[in-house]
């Protein structure tokens, strides 16, 4: 600890305020992404930036990091004027950023990735030694000669954090750092962040997860529609009051109200597979996949990303067909050998994790994207050959109206919608097809709190109507609040299934790491 005291003394030689932002505005055309934003961050402070998707948090930090140029306003860093023209300026001024979508290079090694982030450094032994020293000080473990594509999300993030720490930053910006971490990894990250703040470094922490903000942050700036609406002490607020301030409306809590008699009911959809081999060797091989869902029941599958969820999703929806038809049975009918189309016609629908590129084609309009999966509904496809644009548009209109999708029209491109709105549209597209079994993967990843709530309600309503749902997710809170039963996937192996009522976050975390628990 003496070391960190020494660092703290060195850093506190400068003023108490680390970053001051005054009247910052940024316009994209007529749209004000940031309007007159004022922000003050003290040395050693962990400061949360809260807001829905599109509230302007990313725009703000991009300006602080020099990726975007503000149209008006000024910034001050360590008591001197600060206007970075590019990220290099920001870095040399002492600002570091850990990106939400990690800015790492898959084909390069950890060492090369770190070297790239440092001005004029080359991946040699000297650098490796320095990195290991920093790793030791902050208790971050990485193997320097591994390639990024072999690493999990938590390790990738560690690479980014180390890269930033190597620059000895005064101000660290973290954009949604925990969205892909297990509870254990999150805790490790918090320990690291606490240590950094003890040293006098300031941290801007962007997150949707209000619990985390309350546990970690000293102050929180709330943003809505590009403007700062409030600055609060998150420790004095409840998760609910924070959420309401952020959204500007009262929230209804989602909770599985009736744990239906699902348990007693006969399973409708059962999966019994020994091994599933994915199409690409990069994906995880599944072993011992046994699961079943009853009508009206929601089964949650938790797990750290990269543990076989992709393969599982593909196998369940039919993107990956299995040789033995009987290994998957829906209402008494074997369908493991059937492809996506055939399974869809039998009422098994899915919504994949990757919204742009997998679930929807970014450059196509909403009504065109409807045709991708819903073509067998409402006469969109005439005589199995011709597309009826009118029917597709009507269908898209219906999805937009029913599920409160905010978009100018059905002619908007899929890529122009915010994550939450697009997800509502994509799930709505499937739900209007009245699925018997609905398989959905990480439906609320990168989606703001309000849309998240809405999507959860969509799923619950669907279950109440008697559908069976399989929810593959990395969000533990989501799994615990929405599902009836829960299991975990680790290295392609599915754990036993537990009733959600008797599950705690700690137990689930252990399951996600492949440890069996007794209960």
């Amino acid at each position: 600890m003496t070391e960190s005291v020494a660092i703290a003394e060195r850093l506190s030689a400068s003023s108490k305020q680390c970053l001051g932002v005054r009247g910052l505005s940024k316009f994209f055309g007529d749209f004000a992404a940031n309007r007159d934003v004022t922000l003050s961050i003290d040395a050693g402070e962990i400061h949360a930036l809260l807001g829905e998707n599109g509230a302007g948090k990313s725009t703000l930090v991009k300006m602080i990091y020099g990726i975007l140029k503000p149209d008006a306003g000024s910034m001050e860093l360590l008591a001197s004027s600060y206007s970075p023209n590019n990220p290099s300026d920001a870095k040399s001024a002492g600002v570091g950023m850990v990106f939400q979508h990690f800015a790492v290079f898959d084909a390069l090694t950890v060492l090369e990735n770190i070297a790239l982030g440092l001005e004029g450094r080359f991946p040699d032994e000297a650098l490796a030694a320095e990195i290991l020293e920093v790793c030791e000080r902050y208790r971050l473990h990485v193997e320097l000669d591994r390639r990024i594509h072999d690493l999990g999300a938590g390790e990738r993030q560690r690479v980014e954090i180390i890269r930033v720490l190597m620059q000895d930053p005064r101000l660290l910006i973290l954009d949604e750092p925990t969205s892909v971490l297990t509870p254990q990894e999150t805790e490790q990250l918090f320990t690291t962040l606490d240590r950094l703040s003890d040293e006098g470094r300031s941290i801007i922490y962007i997150s949707h997860k209000l619990d985390e903000v309350r546990a970690l942050c000293d102050r929180a700036t709330l943003m809505r529609a590009g403007q700062v609406v409030d600055v609060v002490d998150p420790r004095q607020e409840s998760t609910r009051s924070l959420g309401e301030k952020m959204i500007g409306e009262r929230l209804n809590e989602t909770k599985r109200t009736q744990v239906t008699e699902a348990h007693s009911q006969k399973a409708r959809f059962t999966v019994r597979v020994g091994d599933v081999y994915p199409e690409s060797t990069r994906n995880v091989v599944l072993t011992d996949v046994y699961l079943s869902v009853a009508p009206g029941s929601i089964l949650g599958i938790s797990g750290v990303s990269g543990n076989g969820q992709d393969t599982l999703f593909d196998a369940l929806t039919g993107e990956l067909t299995l040789p033995n038809p009987d290994s998957m049975v829906l209402d008494g009918e074997p369908l493991a050998h059937l492809d996506v189309e055939q399974r869809r016609l039998r009422g098994l629908l899915g919504a994949p994790e990757n919204r742009l590129g997998h679930a929807a084609i970014p450059d196509l309009t909403l009504w065109e994207n409807v045709i991708l999966t819903a073509r067998h509904t409402r006469g969109i496809l005439k005589n199995n050959h011709l597309i009826s644009g009118t029917s597709a548009k009507e269908f898209a209109e219906e999805v937009i109206a029913t599920f409160d999708v905010r978009t100018p029209s059905v002619n908007a491109k899929a890529s122009s919608l915010s994550g939450g709105n697009l997800q509502k549209f994509l799930i709505g597209r499937e739900l209007l097809g009245n699925p018997k079994v609905f398989i959905v993967s990480n439906p609320t990843w990168g989606v703001d709190a309000k849309a998240q709530l809405f999507i959860h309600q969509m799923l619950l309503k669907l279950a109440d109507q008697g559908a069976s749902i399989i929810l593959i997710s990395q969000d533990i809170d989501e799994l615990l609040s929405v599902t009836d039963r829960i299991c975990a996937i680790c290295h392609g192996r599915l754990s036993r299934t537990f009733s959600t009522e008797e599950m705690t976050p700690e137990h689930l975390g252990a399951l996600m790491l492949g440890q069996e628990i007794d209960s």
Binding site: A103, F105, D106, A107, E112, A115, L116, R147
Partner: protein, 307 residues
Amino acid sequence: MDYGLLSSIIHSILVASTPLVFAGLGALIQERAGVLNLGIEGLMIVGALAGFATAVAGFPLLVSILMASLAGAMLASIFALLVLRLYANPVATGLALTLFGLGLAALAGSQYVGQAAPQVAAWEIPFLSQIPVVGRALFSHDPLVYLSIFTAFVIWWFLTKSRTGLILRAVGENHTSAHALGFSVRGVRFLAIICGGALAGIGGSYLTLVQTPLFVEGMTAGRGWIALALVVFASWRPFRVIAGAYLFGSVSIIQLHGQALGVSVASQWLSMLPYVVTIGALVVIASRAGTSQAAPGSLGKIFKESR
């Protein structure tokens, strides 16, 4: 076996392969930076003409090579402007570059058809070329052969051992991240395109300066395309490009000798052989050598920075 024959076969193999080495390396350096340039064929023939014209005018070999590389670089800079500044589709632009280069060389080169350039003398490397048997076969070629191998070394060293090379790979791997880290994606790509154009130009000039000291319309005869394919099958590695080019050259020469000796196989099959063998061999190498065989992550993608 007659050693004179052996050494002349090796010589003709090197002569057949060297243009592909240069052009392949030129494509490689661009593709590692994430630029897909289908205009290699056009760059080659423009280089071929520029080198030839300079040699015919009586300038020494070095000047001819310089002019060829300059011509390649200049034509490539048009590609760079279109793709990097005006965000033109790189595939279409590359194809246009090939057509443009072929047409331009045919037009400007019509006056040179039928003329002959002075013969390029071989470099007898002292001592080494005196080694019995292999000496003359390996160490007595024109300077460009050595330059091509040296270039491969330089590119290998640059990509794996220098920081700039690391940045170039990073830009090719993920341009969004590279931009986020503060690297000039456009700058790196511009330089890669210019260097690649210069190398392709030198590759083309080898045809007119050494291989056949003549200029004929369309004389690159698809070598630019073969070079592009070689780079892919060589998993974007310089030494594998050399290996692929030499294999291709060897099989082409051997099948020619085979045809001359009257092997009783249809000549079409023999002509097909270099392509089949090269692709087969490089596919086997690529499928065996473990991970990181994949194409650079942002190869051929358009980069636009938001400001």
